[in-house]
Assembly symmetry: C2
Amino acid sequence: MTDWSGLYASRVSRIQSSDVREQARLMGQADIISFGGGIPDPAVFPHADIAEAAHRILIDPAKARVALQYSESGGWRPLREWLVAYMGTLGVACGPDNILITSGSQQGLDLIGRLLLSPGDRVLAEAPTYIGALRAFDACEATYGTVDELADPAGPKAKFGYVMPDFQNPMGTCLTQDERLTLLDHAAARGIPLVEDSAYEKLRYEGEPVPSLLALDVERSGGIDKARVIYTSTFSKVIVPSLRVGWVVGPAEVVHRLMLMKQAADLHTSTFNQMLMLDLASRILEDRIAVVNDLYRRRRDATLGALEAHMPPGVAWTRPQGGMYLWVTLPPAIDGQDFARRALAEERVAVVAGRSFYPANPQLNTIRLAFPQTREDRAGEGIARLAGLIRRMVGN
Amino acid sequence: MTDWSGLYASRVSRIQSSDVREQARLMGQADIISFGGGIPDPAVFPHADIAEAAHRILIDPAKARVALQYSESGGWRPLREWLVAYMGTLGVACGPDNILITSGSQQGLDLIGRLLLSPGDRVLAEAPTYIGALRAFDACEATYGTVDELADPAGPKAKFGYVMPDFQNPMGTCLTQDERLTLLDHAAARGIPLVEDSAYEKLRYEGEPVPSLLALDVERSGGIDKARVIYTSTFSKVIVPSLRVGWVVGPAEVVHRLMLMKQAADLHTSTFNQMLMLDLASRILEDRIAVVNDLYRRRRDATLGALEAHMPPGVAWTRPQGGMYLWVTLPPAIDGQDFARRALAEERVAVVAGRSFYPANPQLNTIRLAFPQTREDRAGEGIARLAGLIRRMVGN
């Protein structure tokens, strides 16, 4: 028999499952109240619009030929052109050569990791941060520090900083404009790029949008091709995830290199899906953002209200102005992993332990609550059960 | 300004564009007779069937919810189960855990490279071979030898052999059953795996199918989980390329590792596209194979007939029993790259120079002709022009 483990490249030992996503399967179980996987509520999926868009594309022979054929690795040109205009509305003046279409923003993170990381290279990430980014960088055998290190000119050599400035996964928090400018200052002083993950940027229920790191950088540096920020985004949260259409924006030189890596990785993202996404984005994007934000805001409010009503002293949580998550700090004696396991087994409530979101040195008494899938009339019951478990675990 | 080139990982310098695919753009120019890019004729795309399949999925709310949501990294279970039965018809007994759904077979090659290759590791490939495989392995900083080295127990240490046993890209040739068994013997003697790329397996116009390396290996080794072959395939050539649905088959242990790498790379292949592909494959696969093979056989015949009629002495070519390509050896004095450039500029005929298909030591007087896009009534004219150019270049 083949000794496979002896054949694997060293990167393989670094790759673990991001088990958060496996929790999505729990959602199907009717008796579970889920604050688990960070996945949209399918009730907001515009399936009739998608059916119409698919029909429009496939009944037109000229469109169908394009939709079903191989296409450019950089992405279908009309979608890139639409994104040029869209990025313009977000304060980023750029051209089609500054945009790469990816199979979700996860692929953007993967390609950026492969572009920049050699084994052992240090990534400065928020702590906690998005698990999927850690898994992508792990596959390049990254090591990790925290973004705080950016401020220290004598800090260990680092390859890039990875930040999610808007409604960060898992905490739901945002960086202020001043914090963003300071990050850019520090990155410039250290001479390293920043990777900006804006997956949740449009899920704002209240408050004023803050310009992205890329927009601020373009303004200061005098143009997209002089920027040191590589920006990733996706239609997954505002339209649907499963079409797997995301994009990267950055200097043309960097985007060209990423395109070549994408070509080697999977040739191109489905042309049909890119055409569907352009049809949807150009017709219903603003409408979808409004629908999604209205629903998720109500669920956030229900969850925050229940936390206020039920949680015992010694429990703290974030109060996000958007996104899909909030972050709960449990009493110091409670390990979030132990808590998550018991919450599911004893209370039939799914939450995610905080430890896996840390690139290093996890704070163990933490959990993430995702509220998009939790109906407003169930959130109170779910939080009350979690509060009961906390009380039992601290011995009250 | 950021010095990006100083930041790139060493793998980046290895990645070139596979410019063959860029030639696809030439196809749109009406005055060019194209034997260039290896891409299907869109006339065979079943766009009405795809429109109906999309409608069936999206008007059913229960199906639409699945189709548009995040799903398992390993692939949508019903498609994997269908592929279990399909692989059974090809002599490979396996289960769903032996199958990974990928975004085209290109992604299968990329993930296998990342699983097995550390920088400098040697891959034994056919010479010439598929450019996209070389680009995927280049991204892992592979070095190359030829599959002939497999026969030499004292040959340089190698990580795996990569072969395309059926209607190989670019030559259109097949390995006989004896050649396959010998390859398996040699791989076993050397203790290394084989990566089998079966992208063209079903494009057989005549002659009897030969069992895949994986089928032969499963039979000899006593089961899929004892196999040393990792098999990749795709629906791109027989249904449509742009849905980007392919699959990998191998020992469950290997498939699990590949699944984790896929999760880090792009989470999963579009659920909607997987559902479309299952609908299409289970309804019309045999029909599509017949339609595609009938058309491509006629185009191969027209191309072979024209080569016979027009080519001067000193030109040789393969006579494939299927697939999309044939391989032409020009008189020794003609460099295929020079020839391809002049054929396009002077004769308005697109061909691909042979040199980029070689992992090393290219035979320069070679070109690849792809015939699926060349109408039967145009092939004669195209080949006559190429023959005229050859005569001019050798000075007759």
